[in-house]
């Protein structure tokens, strides 16, 4: 997998609703397109996106072939405690891309 851009506020108050955004580069090859040789290009999509905060799941999504290349997710969550937010994207090839962001909650 390629590059990811994640957007997490570095600081938040306890109980505050915060915005989290995550953009990752991935071709999201549907498996329905033909290549120059006329044969089907094998499907290769991110099929699952999982976000945890200090190990506890706060957001996840299953993805399907109709989702465009370079998927972008934006969601909100409630700030509870300082620590690490971990983003994981899993694709059909069995690759996982992992990114982390630190956040301080006061």
């Amino acid at each position: 997998m390629g590059r990811a851009l994640i957007n997490v506020p570095p600081k938040a108050r306890k109980g505050q609703v915060i915005d989290i955004k995550a953009l990752v580069s991935h071709p999201m090859e549907t498996g329905y397109r033909t290549g120059p040789d006329g044969a089907l290009v094998p499907r290769d999509i991110i099929n699952r996106f999982l976000v945890t905060w200090n190990g506890q799941e706060i957001f996840s999504a299953d993805l399907f072939p109709a989702i465009a290349a370079n998927p972008y997710f934006a969601f909100t969550t409630i700030a509870q405690e300082s620590g690490t937010i971990t983003f994981r994207w899993f694709d059909d090839k069995g690759n996982a891309q992992v990114e982390t962001a630190a956040i301080v909650v006061e």
Partner: protein, 256 residues
């Protein structure tokens, strides 16, 4: 209500620097897009072109060639040294005396200054470097170089822009000067200002160059597209940049 909408429209255009000054009819392609696509371009956290910028940023300091030199070795921090550079390309390369565009210039640095092979046209690496260099000019005004040599290149570009071509026998001007603002099937016809390249095109699902955009328009009228980096393509780029002189650079833009 209508006046409010008009005021909001002007405010939006000015805020984004997408419109030239009053009395100037020139408009960035962004102003023809839906509000949703405009919002995608405006938010750096959502704009997928920023992935290419991040790619280029990483390459900027990655060594290449036999001596293991990186762009940083000669150019330092791109935020200082590359500011405004993309706004004045294509330009004449002093060594060959020929016009080169930004990607050609980057490849000259690879081959001449780093002893590394040229990066393939339209590959993620070259697009990334061009997007990163272009990003350093975002918001600055397009300011093509003056001089007789560039004038000759731009004249050649203007001739190509106004020449009818392809099985459908259209010139670029027939759509982009005479019919901008109207629709070609569902797509609004923009004025063809090259303000945002390399940019992320939703139809491509990828970042692409201005020359890739030319190819789309040329195959659209069933003309044979020019090869990447050809004199024709560079002349047309130079003409379009001059036609957009003073408009703001948007790299990396988003287009439908």
């Amino acid at each position: 209500m209508r006046r409010l909408v008009a005021i909001a429209g002007v405010a939006l255009g000015l805020a984004a620097g997408l419109q030239a000054s009053r009395g100037d009819e020139r408009r960035s392609g962004a102003t023809f897009m839906s509000p949703q696509t405009q919002a995608l371009q405006a938010d750096d956290a959502a704009n997928p072109g920023m992935l290419s910028v991040a790619d280029g940023q990483a390459q900027w300091s990655t060594p290449a060639g036999p001596n293991g030199t990186a762009c940083t070795a000669c150019h330092g921090d791109a935020r200082d040294t590359m500011r405004g550079v993309a706004a004045r390309y294509p330009a004449i390369d002093a060594v060959s005396g020929k016009a080169v565009d930004l990607m050609g210039r980057i490849n000259l640095c690879r081959t001449r200054n780093m002893g590394a092979p040229a990066l393939p046209a339209e590959g993620a690496e070259l697009l990334g470097l061009a997007a990163y260099v272009g990003f350093q000019s975002r918001g600055l005004r397009i300011a093509p170089p003056t001089g007789a040599a560039m004038d000759a290149v731009r004249d050649a570009g203007r001739a190509l822009y106004t020449r009818r071509q392809g099985q459908l026998d259209f010139s670029c001007a027939a759509c982009h000067d005479d019919n901008w603002g109207r629709r070609l099937a569902a797509a609004p016809i923009p004025q063809a200002h090259p303000t945002g390249y390399p940019l992320y095109r939703l139809e491509w699902q990828a970042t692409g160059s201005l020359q890739r955009r030319f190819r789309n328009c040329m195959t659209g009228v069933r003309a044979e597209p020019w090869p990447y980096g050809s004199d024709e393509a560079i002349a047309l780029e130079a003409f379009l940049m001059d036609r957009a002189r003073g408009m703001a650079v948007e790299t990396p833009a988003v287009r439908p």
